[in-house]
Amino acid sequence: MNAFAEMSNHLPKTSIWKHLGALLCVTVVASGCTGVPKTVPSPSPIAGKAAPQAAPVQEDALSVAPTPTPSNSIAQVGFRHRAHVGDDNWVGDSCGCASGPCANPGAACGNPMATACAPQPWQYDPQEYLCDGGDQPPSAVLTRDDRIRGLQPQDTVTHYTTEAGDIEFAASNRVCVYSPRFGNVRRITGAIQGDGAIAVSGTSRPVGPQGVDYDLPGLVMTDTVEVGQEEFTRRIDSMRDRNRGVRIESVQQPRQAADVRTVLAGIQNVGISELDESLLALIERYAVAATIWTLDESVEVAIEDLAPPVLTRDQRVDALVVYEFPGPGRLNLLKLADKKHAATGDTVTFALRLQNVGDSPVSGVVVTDNLVTRLEYVADSQTASVDAEFETKPNEANSSQLIWRLKEELAVGDSVTIEFECRVR
C-alpha cells in the first residue's frame, strides 16, 4: 500500500481512481496467473528451425551428465531472442524429470537423492550449425518473366513442368554442418588522466532483480575518476513524426436503425390482431408506400403458332472407351554433405540427387541452390550426371546462386546427380 499512497500524492484526484482500477486489474491478472500449473516449455526452444540432430548428445570427455536444477524462467535482458538450449528443458518441480527429453518412467522421481533421473539438458544450438537446403517461407514461386520469387538464402529448390503444363516446385531437405563461427565486438575505452585510465561515466547501471554486486573486484581501475561531463547522443527516433489517430471519413455510423425497428413493431402488432387506432397512421403510411412501389406493368408474353420440338430417347450405349491419364510427374530432391563438421576455410562437397518419382515425365527442370552467406562456391567445381546448363550469379546474401537447367526431360524413375564444392567462410 505504500506504493499506492506514494502514487496518490503525485497524481490528481481524477486519475487516482483510474490508477486504482488499473492496479486492481493487475492484481486480478496476477492472481489468475498463479493458478496456472507450471508447464514444461517446448522441448526445443528452437523448434522453428529444423533440428540438425535430434538424438541426445552423449557425454564426451569434458561433459558429464548433469543433475536437474530448478530453472528460473525469467528471460535475461541482454540475452533476448536467443535460444538457451538445455536450460529451458528443466522442469521446476521437485521431480525434475516429469517430461521432456529427460522423461524416464523407471526413474525414481520424488527421491531427491536419485541421480537416475538426471536429464540430458543440452542437445545442440542451431546457431552453431551451418545449414543449407529446404525452402524457407515464403515459398518459392515462379513469375511470368521466369524468375523465382521467395528464394531465401540457403534455399534449394527445383521447379519443373509437368505434362499438363503445370509448373511445380519441390524443395530439398536441409543439410547441416557443425561449424560455429565467433565474432568480436571491441571497444577501446580511452580517457587517460595522469597515468591512469578513467572509467566510462554517465552510463546507467540499473540494479537487476537479483541485485548486481558492484563490490566485485574490478579490472584495471580501482581508483576511478568520474568524468564530469555526460555525453548524450540523441537518436533519430526522438525526431520521428508521430501520426496517430483514425481519419474521420473511415468511421461509419449506422443509419435508419430507428425506422427498421418501427416496422418490426408494427408487423408484430398486426400479427396478433390487435389493431387499434394508434396504428392506423402507420398502416396508412406503409400502404401509401406500397402503392408507390407497385408496378402496374407486367410481362406480356405472346405465343405464336409454333410446334414444340420432339425429343426422341431411343439412344443406347454402343461402346465404352476408358481414357487413363497418368498422374503428373513429381521430383524428389535430396541434398547431402560429405562432412558432419567443418572448420572455417574447409571445403565441403554437396551432392544433389534429383529423381522423378511421379507417373509421367517432366520437362524444363531447373535446380536452384541459393547459398548462405558463409558458403562460398568453389569455381568450376560442379559436375552433373546429365547434360545441363550451369549458371552462377551473386545473390542477396553476398554469396552465389547456383542454377542448373536440364536440357532434356526427365523420364519416370530417372535421376540426376549434381555435385559441387563450397568453402566455409
Binding site: N72, P217, T344
Partner: protein, 235 residues
C-alpha cells in the same frame, strides 16, 4: 452542479492530461531496451548474474575449451594458484562457465619485457557434437592494436559472441580468427554482440599488474578458479 465546479473539473482534467503526456522517446523506447547488463560492468558481473538467474551449469563442471590467438611471438599462460608458467603461443585450455580467469601475455612485438594481465570472463558455452569439443574451441583473439592500447593505459573490451549463421557476415575469416567490430565509447559492446549472436565470453585487456600484497592476490585472480589443460598432439 455550479459553473465554478465544472470549470474546476475541467482545469483538473486538463492538468491531469498534461502530467500524463509522456515524452515521445518514452513511448517509442530505446532500440536496445533496458539493458540490465552492460559491457562496462566489472569483470564477472555479467557471468555471475547470468548464473544466478537460472542459467548456471548443473554439476559436474563443464570445461569449455578456448584457444588464445595473438600476434606472432605472443605467448599466453593461465594463472595457476597465483603464478604463471612460461606460456604458449596458441594456448588451449578448458575454462569453467561463470568464472573469470586472469592470464598473462608476454612476448609482445616491439615491447620487450612488457607483460599484460588480461581477464577472460566465461559467459556461455558451446554445444558441440560428441568428441568435437576441443576441435572447435572458442577463439580468444588479441591483435596488435589491443596490446598497444592496453600498454598505453587504455581498457580494451572484446565481447566474443557466437555468430548467427543467418546473419553472418559473408567475409572470409582471417588466420587469427574474425576481425573485430570496433564500436565507439558510447556504445555498449555487449548490446552490439547480443544483436549479432550469442555472447560467450568477454575479454578485458587493461594495464593492471599483479599486486605485491598477499591479501590482494585472491581478488586479482578472481578466487583462483580451476581450469583444465588441453594438450595438443605432438606433430
Amino acid at each position: 452542479m455550479s459553473r465554478t465546479s465544472v470549470l474546476l473539473l475541467l482545469v483538473i482534467s486538463a492538468a491531469a492530461s498534461i502530467t500524463q503526456a509522456a515524452d515521445p522517446r518514452e513511448i517509442l523506447g530505446a532500440p536496445g531496451g533496458h539493458a540490465l547488463l552492460t559491457g562496462d560492468m566489472p569483470a564477472g558481473v555479467v557471468a555471475a548474474t547470468r548464473q544466478s538467474m537460472g542459467y548456471q551449469q548443473p554439476p559436474p563442471t563443464y570445461y569449455q575449451p578456448v584457444e588464445f590467438h595473438g600476434p606472432e611471438g605472443v605467448r599466453f599462460s593461465l594463472a595457476q594458484y597465483g603464478s604463471f608458467e612460461e606460456g604458449e603461443s596458441n594456448l588451449m585450455a578448458g575454462l569453467m562457465i561463470g568464472q573469470v580467469y586472469r592470464f598473462r601475455v608476454t612476448g609482445i612485438p616491439q615491447q620487450a619485457g612488457a607483460e599484460l594481465y588480461p581477464t577472460i570472463e566465461m559467459v556461455d558455452r558451446t554445444y558441440p557434437p560428441p568428441g568435437l569439443a576441443t576441435s572447435y574451441p572458442i577463439p580468444i583473439n588479441l591483435d596488435q592494436n589491443d596490446l598497444i592500447a592496453a600498454l598505453e593505459g587504455r581498457l580494451v573490451t572484446r565481447v566474443i559472441y557466437l555468430e548467427d549463421p543467418q546473419t553472418a557476415t559473408p567475409l572470409p575469416e582471417g588466420p587469427n580468427g574474425p576481425a573485430a567490430i570496433d564500436v565507439p565509447e558510447y556504445q555498449d559492446p555487449l548490446e552490439i554482440a547480443d544483436l549479432r549472436g550469442r555472447t560467450v565470453a568477454i575479454l578485458r585487456i587493461g594495464s593492471l599488474a599483479p599486486p605485491r600484497a598477499e591479501v590482494l592476490q585472491s581478488q586479482f585472480f578472481f578466487g583462483h578458479p580451476s581450469w583444465a589443460p588441453i594438450f595438443k598432439p605432438q606433430p
